[in-house]
């Protein structure tokens, strides 16, 4: 079966136009405690203007900041079987799904899109931590397979933003099987000699870190992101001692040789473009202003 035959395009970008940000709402920075207006925060790509803490950003907002003029084509992901195990804890899995969909206005925990960044064709996959902790189930697996195959078809790089607490327990073993499954997808990309750039964002843990999120040609992380296999609490319980400051944070991993770069969100776009173009053997990107966003399209 051909996965990429299934996506529907081009869905209109205006579906993803900016939501109205209520001006009277504010958020407290989890790091420095500063009260920040939502508008101020969203203009700063969810980075605290006071302490530079990188807060979570929804895949949609991420893609809007990344793609030229905020224009991109979302790629449809084949839907897996709904609730394959008939899973029920204190709540039924389908009910958990419904409330996550309602809360995030997203179908699932990963968004895949195609478009140009710095006038460079790219596929981007972004994981949504606010959707059931970004957990990797069959849908996320399908999304990564589609993203890799599409990058191969379009002969362009794949940039993947990871954010997840790990595997989706409600899909049991089938979520665990996304570790080898997504690894197969990444191999297809590598065999086609196309760049796979992973940007690890806060938090990336468990089976996600132990599969596609650690298999990038280039490994970038956002500042202060928690990146680990086993979480700090589990480790403290096991070894019964206090962990060093900054343990499992991006900078700590960089020091221990696990990452190529820790990059501030505001510099990410430029760096992704430079890296991709060099790896692809393309000329340097044309610097300077790109055409202004088409206001009629973005403000429907």
């Amino acid at each position: 079966m051909n996965w990429i035959a299934n996506y529907v395009r081009p869905r209109i970008n205006s579906l993803f136009s900016k939501r109205d940000v209520p001006e009277n709402l504010w958020t407290k920075c989890t790091e420095c405690g500063t009260m920040l207006f939502h508008r101020e925060l969203s203009q700063n790509a969810n980075v605290c203007p006071n302490c530079d803490h990188h807060m979570n950003i929804s895949p949609r907002d991420r893609l809007l900041t990344l793609f030229d003029n905020g224009k991109f084509t979302p790629i449809e992901i084949p839907k897996p079987i709904n609730d394959p195990l008939g899973f029920k804890d204190q709540k039924k899995y389908p009910d958990r799904m419904k409330s996550a969909q309602k809360k995030t206005e997203a179908d699932e925990a990963m968004l895949v899109a195609e478009g140009e960044i710095g006038r460079t064709k790219m596929i981007v996959a972004a994981q949504d931590f606010s959707f059931m902790g970004g957990s990797m189930g069959m849908y996320v697996g399908n999304a990564i397979i589609v993203a890799c195959k599409l990058a191969v078809e379009k002969k362009c790089p794949l940039v993947l933003f990871s954010a997840a607490g790990g595997a989706r327990m409600q899909e049991g073993i089938l979520s665990l099987m996304q570790m080898p499954r997504t690894t197969v997808a990444v191999q297809l990309l590598k065999e086609a000699k196309l760049p796979f750039i992973v940007v690890l964002t806060n938090p990336t843990t468990g089976g996600v870190t132990a599969s596609y999120a650690m298999l990038g040609d280039i490994q970038i992380a956002e500042p202060n992101a928690l990146i680990c296999f086993a979480g700090p609490r589990v480790i403290e319980q096991t070894i019964r001692e206090k962990l060093p400051d900054g343990f499992q944070k991006a900078e700590y991993l960089l020091d221990h040789g696990m990452l190529d770069r820790v990059v501030h969100r505001k510099n990410l776009k430029e760096e992704l473009v430079m890296l991709s173009r060099m790896l692809m053997g393309l000329n340097p990107a044309i610097k300077g202003d790109l055409p202004k966003p088409d206001s009629s399209e973005n403000n429907e």
Partner: protein
């Protein structure tokens, strides 16, 4: 001395009584207890069959973790001749949680790998309870490369609670090591057969079990998370492990239906711990059949077969 599981307590009582009677009979010649003792034997035998016929998922977990089950080392000792252990990851250390080496399986040279939990306090600590650190996965990668280079089939014996959650393990790249080991499993152009002999714990198991054929023992388990871990996260109560074990569908029987495992090797009545040699022999026969079924495939086909096996997973659920 026999180790009884909690749910086997009634059995322990009956078998204990029979043993007591026989011990008593030895002290006086006039006593004839054989009739009574045999009746108890019969009762115990029936109860054992009964207990093991319908093991709940949580009881399966207990059986899968039973300390007297044959371990990786037992399989290697019995099934592989001329076994030579090969050590180290050439970077940092030799991980004793992972056994690995070269040996002959029915004359055919192979690479065998597996997690070993240890069988008493001393060896359990030495083996870190079968929880590998990055060095263990990197040793596995190295040995799979060796197998690939010399065209040797790889047999992996999976029995681990999971990868070790420790400070050093994290600092040395536990995630990366697991990811690369899974990747290596998918890249080698030789037959790769995995047997879940006890506990298939999460990513630590996947890194060994991304195989052409996945065999499970009848009472083994394979899961994304331990029932205790799942219970403490989803039920906020680690004591709800029975419910979690039920919900996770981690038994060999469910995994066969999902296509996660390809076949099940039956255990003797009362579990592998009550018939170690029979179990090891049955596993050997199963490996032999699976190796035979992959004979004659070229590198490309073996790799493609393995990839497709995993890409196709998830097309059938248990509810539909």
């Amino acid at each position: 001395m026999q180790n009884y599981l909690e749910f086997e307590r009634p059995l322990a009582e009956i078998e204990g009584k029979a043993a007591e009677l026989r011990a008593l009979a030895k002290t006086s010649e006039e006593m004839n207890v054989e009739n009574e003792a045999s009746a108890l034997d019969k009762k115990a035998g029936d109860l054992l069959i009964n207990l093991y016929e319908n093991l709940t998922p949580w009881r399966k977990c207990q059986v899968a973790r039973h300390p007297d089950r044959p371990h990786c080392k037992d399989y290697i000792d019995k099934l592989f001749q001329d076994y030579i252990p090969l050590s180290g990851d050439r970077n940092f250390a030799d991980d004793h949680a992972v056994m690995g080496g070269i040996g002959r399986f029915n004359d055919q040279p192979v690479i065998v790998l597996g997690q070993e939990k240890g069988y008493d306090t001393k060896t359990r600590i030495e083996r870190n309870f079968g929880m590998a650190r990055p060095e263990g996965y990197r040793k596995a990668i190295r040995l799979m490369d060796l197998a690939d280079r010399f065209n040797l089939p790889v047999i992996t014996l999976v029995d681990t609670p999971g990868a070790y959650p420790g400070k050093g393990a994290e600092e040395r790249g536990q995630s990366e090591a697991i990811a690369r080991s899974t990747e290596k499993c998918l890249q080698i152009g030789v037959p790769l057969i995995s047997i879940i002999i006890g506990e298939g714990g999460s990513g630590g198991a996947v890194a060994f079990a991304t195989a052409n054929r996945v065999i499970m023992l009848q009472h083994s388990i394979y899961s994304v998370i331990s029932p205790e871990g799942c219970a403490s996260i989803l039920w906020k109560d680690a004591e709800k492990m029975r419910e979690a074990a039920e919900a996770l569908r981690l038994t060999a029987q469910d995994l066969l239906k999902l296509g996660v495992c390809d076949l099940i090797v039956e255990e003797p009545v009362g579990g592998a711990q009550r018939g170690r040699d029979v179990t090891i022999k049955a596993v050997g026969e199963s490996i032999e059949i699976q190796l035979e079924s992959l004979k004659g495939f070229d590198r490309k086909t073996l790799i493609a077969d393995r990839r497709q096996r995993f890409l196709d997973l998830g097309e059938k659920g248990l509810t539909s």
